[in-house]
Symmetry: C2
Subunit: 329 residues, 2 copies
DNA sequence: TCAAAAGTGTTATCCTTACACCCATGT
DNA sequence: ACATGGGTGTAAGGATAACACTTTTGA
């Protein structure tokens, strides 16, 4: 065989891993499934060597994660295939002729109520990316982060990268620039570049405790935080044009529930009336007849997802748009 | 190590291939780089075993393809990672314990004027997907294709898949439904399911000559046509929100050139005035001062891409919208 | 002089955004 | 009564889609 030739180099052993980003809502917050890891950097995403015996990668991953979580997965999508995280990663398992490739998948699960039989642990995703949550307002810690980032960017500019300061400004919505919630991956990569992610410091050979000092967000094993950032970016983009949001909802929910979920995932506050109109207009939900019992005010209608829209409409999603002025009224 | 456990099965040898979809414009038509293949099904995309020795997959692929084409690549993006194409693929190289994984990349190259030193051959991409070109109008062959597709879909419906006919209608824009040029992959997969792609017939063990009889579009080696369909879908989506179109243009071009390129890639005719306004409004191009010499009518201004927009704007692209009424005036 | 392509001005329509307001329930 | 959250109507603004029209060259 051999149609195209080589990529210039000698052949080598390749290890192929599957890595899963499993997302579910708990208490109105997005959570990600993590597992304990023997290595130094505690928290990891579920991962393991690729196994044969499944017709496709996707079905293999689905079965594996369903075994892990003991619940049906609603939605599975391939995220990205990562090779070595960085050229200078001195990990023992990543020797010169033993490259590791990880094929990462995003999976959405319905809200887990009991985590009794679960292997692993659900963790709030904003624990890993506190700067990605722009609902609350509190720009206290954010100011500190931006200060350090701009210090790095100015050093880069002086070292020849003219646009670096501007790129930081745009990516982080600083100084009048608009915040784009979909650029979560870009932001993480900038922080990594600026040595503001402990993983980067670890890769450079520093001690974990020293490295994590003052760094924003919990670190993860290897490049798992980058994979999670990829998942967040993808999911935030996807809910706008595909009805994946409903894979994270219970069978019946109120419109406010739905809005809170969309807000929690995208990390920005949404405009109530417009959100409702868009959902109604697109025919994404239908009444169940039941009402939500006392949540503090007037009882809300319980609605359910209209499965038919998956066939009907070409690209139905929750087109969310952040309100310009601050957070909740 | 070992965080997540296995996916249930025994370990096996895995072969990892890189596959490249290299796109360039020639004579106003999008072309893809192909190589001759020793196997039965002639045409293939450039592919080869993954080699170690590059810091990232992306840089490795870039260097490899640049060697192959003898020109600089403008844009490289990972497309998807494919495992076995179908469960019933009886290919000799795909034994039970020798799975092949191919990581596919999309690359854009500037227009090649001389193909002298080239290893491989440029082929018009609509040769592989004639139904994806909706510029010309001529719905003659399309009607025949739709007829066969609907016959299959109705059989599926009778076999229990209730929505199948409706899915075909929506995917192919038949019977009043809107044509969505981005759904090229979905369309190819439907044709494959319906045994209207020769590859599907080959997988089932039929003879190539018999299989290709009356099938639309040139077949390709293994699942390469699926990979190309993935690339087309991705590229058609991308040009709307990222300025990748300009990677395929020469240094100076006219606005009509640009529009013809956008139309050729997306396969639909565009509205001239609105296209121009959008390009101008977003500041994507600037005058060079020179004029295009006689192309049959009034000479057009030559413009060039404003590289600055890559930094300036968060998501600049050519938002194209098909005109409702037919093709060119 | 005519065909062909470049380039401009203007209007109707839709979608988005935001405002203000009313409804129903628990305390 | 009033606080809290659910739910609706409507006007201002901007972006889009389409129209008709003028300009400049080559044959």
């Amino acid at each position: 065989m051999g149609g195209g030739g080589d990529q210039g180099g000698r052949e080598s052993r390749v290890r192929v891993d599957l890595t899963a980003v499993v997302i579910a809502m708990r208490d109105g917050e997005p959570h990600v499934l993590t597992v304990a890891n023997d290595g130094a950097s505690g928290v990891a995403l579920p991962f393991g060597p690729l196994q044969a015996g499944h017709p496709t990668l996707q079905t293999g991953l689905r079965r594996w994660v369903e075994d892990l979580t003991h619940r049906k997965l609603g939605y599975v999508e391939q995220l990205y295939t990562f090779a070595d995280h960085a050229p200078f990663q001195p990990n023992a398992d990543h020797g010169a002729d033993h490259q590791t490739i990880s094929i990462a998948y995003l999976a959405l699960a319905a809200s887990p109520e009991d985590s009794a039989t679960l292997q692993g642990r659900w963790r709030r995703w904003y624990g890993f990316f506190p700067w990605e949550d722009r609902r609350g307002g509190g720009p206290a810690a954010r100011a500190h982060l931006l200060e350090r980032l701009f210090a790095w960017a100015e050093a880069q500019r002086d070292a020849g990268d003219a646009d670096c300061v501007e790129r930081v400004r745009l990516a982080f919505g600083a100084d009048g620039a608009a915040w784009d919630e979909e650029r979560a991956l870009e932001r993480y990569e900038m922080l990594y570049e600026a040595d503001l992610a402990p993983e980067a410091a670890l890769d450079l050979g520093l001690e974990p405790s020293a490295a994590a000092n003052g760094m924003p967000g919990l670190p993860m094993f290897a490049d798992h935080r980058r994979i999670l950032a990829t998942a967040i970016s993808r999911l935030r983009a996807k809910i706008k044009y595909r009805p994946v949001l409903f894979e994270l909802m219970p069978a019946a929910f109120t419109l406010t529930n739905l809005q809170r979920t969309a807000e929690a995932l995208s990390g920005v506050p949404l405009h109530k009336q417009n959100f409702r109109r868009l959902v109604a207009q697109q025919g994404l939900v239908e009444d169940t007849g039941a009402m939500a019992t006392g949540t503090g005010g007037r009882p809300a209608k319980l609605v359910r997802f209209r499965r038919e829209v998956t066939v009907e409409r070409p690209a139905p999603g929750v087109r969310l748009r952040a309100t310009r002025r601050g957070s909740y009224p």
